[in-house]
């Protein structure tokens, strides 16, 4: 159970975030935007850091400079993570917010000493990261290479005599050079991206509390709007379903009943035929209504709970689903129903858009709470702008107060990891 219910990464809580580049295999990393953007980001950070150090000379301006940096850095970090990680939400939220946040900022708000020290430390660090990286590139990398060559192949080449390395290469030497270059290059790439990732995460963590709260308020406002549009979309769907289904059947039934009435009065023979047609239409109407209702409140979910309803979803899905349930409790209906619809939506999205073959579903419960983990093997790149499906899932989970992490980098896989801790479950009961 412990493996299933491991803690959700702190950076993921309650937001959709970009994936961690350090977990990407080298061929994907090379093909992504992570590397060029990481270099840009690091270089920009060093410039800003230098600016900060120079501003120390003009001490009276320190507050202003710190304020500007405090605004720029989280935005830069979010943009970097958003563009490189292919994550839509942060991009939209922060990309649009920067200019207006510059305008809205209360410039005369007093800086706390804690803020000043955090910001100073951060800028000093970001200023230092680029030289560290440059040193690795210019000094450590060639040195390792030359020393390694000496140890393995060489017979007493001195460092200054580098030329002989190139002239005396035999087959083994060529192999060594190629391997060493490849391995160290890959390591260097990871180091570059890792440093940028680290700096960006740090920037987002240390941004002053006030600004962070302001961002959270904006994020909540966006979520509220999304929630409303998701509700509207759902109402539209129900309206269509009822209009195209039962309402058509009922209208047809009314026509055939009317006909039967007229024909009975005329003692015509085919009245019975129209009665039968009307009956058929009424039956169909009630079936359509049942299906519309069950899409609102699935019977299995109501009667047998989440484990059973998810099992039913799995059976009904055209995808190959690997289901792993360690779920034996009954959570409050609002929680179970949300998790049911999130699962259903995930399966639908995967089937429609992800070109996936299999989906893995893990549902577990223990004394800490519930956890639902959904993962497909599809092409990823799921984007909240392309439909209300993802928004719907995110909104339902947000409303529950779940900690969740939705990732869908281009190339896949798409993963949703949600957990609801027991405190939240208690609140849901009330």
């Amino acid at each position: 159970m412990a493996t299933l219910l491991g803690p959700v990464r702190a950076s993921c809580q309650n937001e959709t975030v970009s994936s961690n580049p350090l977990l990407l295999p080298p061929w994907r990393l090379v093909a992504s935007w992570w590397i060029p953007l990481a270099v840009l980001y690091l270089a920009g950070g060093a410039l800003l850091g230098l600016g900060f150090i120079f501003s120390l000379v003009a001490l009276p301006l320190l507050g202003l400079v710190l304020k500007i940096l405090a605004l720029i850095e989280p935005t830069r970090a979010s943009l970097f993570l958003a563009i490189a990680g292919g994550e839509p939400h942060a991009w939209r939220e922060n990309g649009r917010g920067f200019v207006s946040s510059l305008k809205q900022t209360d410039w005369w708000r007093t800086l706390t000493w804690r803020e000043i020290s955090w910001r100073s430390a951060f800028n000093a660090l970001s200023c230092a990261l680029l030289p560290i990286w440059t040193m690795v590139l210019v000094v450590v990398w060639p040195t390792t290479f030359v020393v390694g060559y000496r140890l393995l192949v060489g017979d007493g080449i001195v460092l200054t005599g580098n030329r002989r390395v190139l002239t005396d290469l035999d087959a083994g030497g060529v192999f060594f050079v190629v391997t060493a270059v490849c391995v160290t290059l890959v390591a260097l790439l990871y180091l570059t991206v890792g440093l940028a990732w680290f700096q960006a995460q740090l920037a987002l963590q240390v941004s002053p509390k006030f600004d962070r709260l302001q961002r959270q308020v904006r994020l909540l406002a966006v979520k509220e709007t999304n929630l409303v549009s998701a509700f509207e979309a759902e109402r539209l769907r129900i309206e269509r379903q009822l209009h195209d289904g039962p309402q058509q059947n009922l209208a047809a039934a009314a026509i055939h009943l009317g006909l039967a009435q007229v024909l009975v009065r005329q003692n015509a023979e085919n009245a019975e035929q129209h009665l039968a047609l009307a009956q058929g239409q009424l039956q169909e109407a009630s079936e359509e209504l049942r299906s519309a209702l069950s899409s609102l409140r699935p019977r299995t979910l109501v009667e047998d709970g989440l484990a059973a309803s998810i099992a039913e979803l799995v059976t009904g899905s055209p995808l190959e689903v690997e289901l792993n349930q360690h779920y034996s409790v009954r959570a409050p209906f609002s929680v179970e129903s949300s998790l049911h619809f999130v699962t259903s939506e995930f399966l639908t999205n995967t089937y429609r858009h992800a070109r996936a073959r299999t989906v893995a579903i893990e549902l577990g419960s223990d004394e800490e709470g519930l956890r639902l983990l959904l993962r497909d093997d599809g092409v990823g790149g799921a984007n909240a702008d392309h439909g209300t499906g993802i928004l719907g899932m995110v909104n339902r989970l947000s409303m529950l107060g779940a900690d969740f992490c939705f990732t869908s980098p281009p190339g896949g896989p798409t993963t949703l990891d949600a957990r609801i801790n027991s405190d939240r479950l208690q609140e849901a009961v009330q």
């Binding site: 058509q248 209208a251 047809a252 009317g258 007229v262």
Partner: protein, 214 residues
């Protein structure tokens, strides 16, 4: 009368066709999509067209759009539009685009089941009258009257409101303590104010729709 039916649900289509047969009318052709409706009209123009609003290809107001397009080509073609929508927007679009004195009907699909009444509607529309489902009018009356048509005098407004409630001239006289000639004069000025000119029997309906169009 040779009538054409445009409706995408087969059972409803057949039902309407049977209803028309009861009234002694012939079904000239049936169409299941709006595109088909337009094409069929080019080959064989019916004496009257009955069309559903929501139809393929787009499952939106395709049937109504087809009816409006046919109004351009065949201004005198009487059209009955069937709908499940109780709002008056479709009826208004249909009437606004009609030449004065062209038969126009807006009937709820569920009301087709009252067969004698529906056959009356079909015949009235074929005789160039306007027929609007009473449920549509009733629904409109439930809405709060909003401040529209500011150019009307309070007296005209009062009379129009009573007309919208389906009162006859005599009832209006009684309620407002006016003479019959005064009421007739007010109604006539009302029609002029609403630019309804010298059209015949449909003026009342048009005035009501105009009044309630918001």
């Amino acid at each position: 009368m040779k009538i054409a039916i445009a409706e995408d649900v087969m059972l409803t289509r057949q039902g309407i066709s049977a209803v028309l047969a009861v009234g002694g009318h012939e079904t000239l052709w049936e169409a299941a999509t709006a595109t088909e409706t337009l094409a069929n009209c080019r080959h064989a123009l019916p004496d009257l067209l009955i069309t559903d609003v929501r139809m393929p290809p787009n499952h939106s107001d395709d049937g109504l759009l087809a009816a409006l397009a046919l109004r351009e080509t065949y201004p005198r073609l009487p059209i009955v539009v069937l709908s499940q929508y109780v709002g008056n927007e479709y009826a208004r679009r249909l009437l606004v685009n009609a030449q004065p004195g062209t038969g126009t009907g807006y009937w709820l699909k569920e009301s087709v089941g009252d067969i004698p009444r529906f056959l009356e509607v079909v015949e009235a529309v074929a005789a160039d009258q306007v027929q609007i489902d009473p449920k549509v009018i009733a629904h409109l009356l439930q809405k709060e009257p909003v401040d529209i048509l500011p150019e009307l005098s309070p007296r005209q407004r009062e009379v129009l409101e009573l007309m919208a409630q389906g009162r006859t001239n005599a009832q209006i006289c009684g309620q407002l303590f006016l003479s019959a000639t005064t009421v007739e004069r007010v109604i006539s000025s009302l029609f002029d104010a609403l630019n309804l000119g010298q059209t015949d029997g449909n003026k009342r309906v048009l005035a009501v729709l105009e009044f309630l169009r918001h």
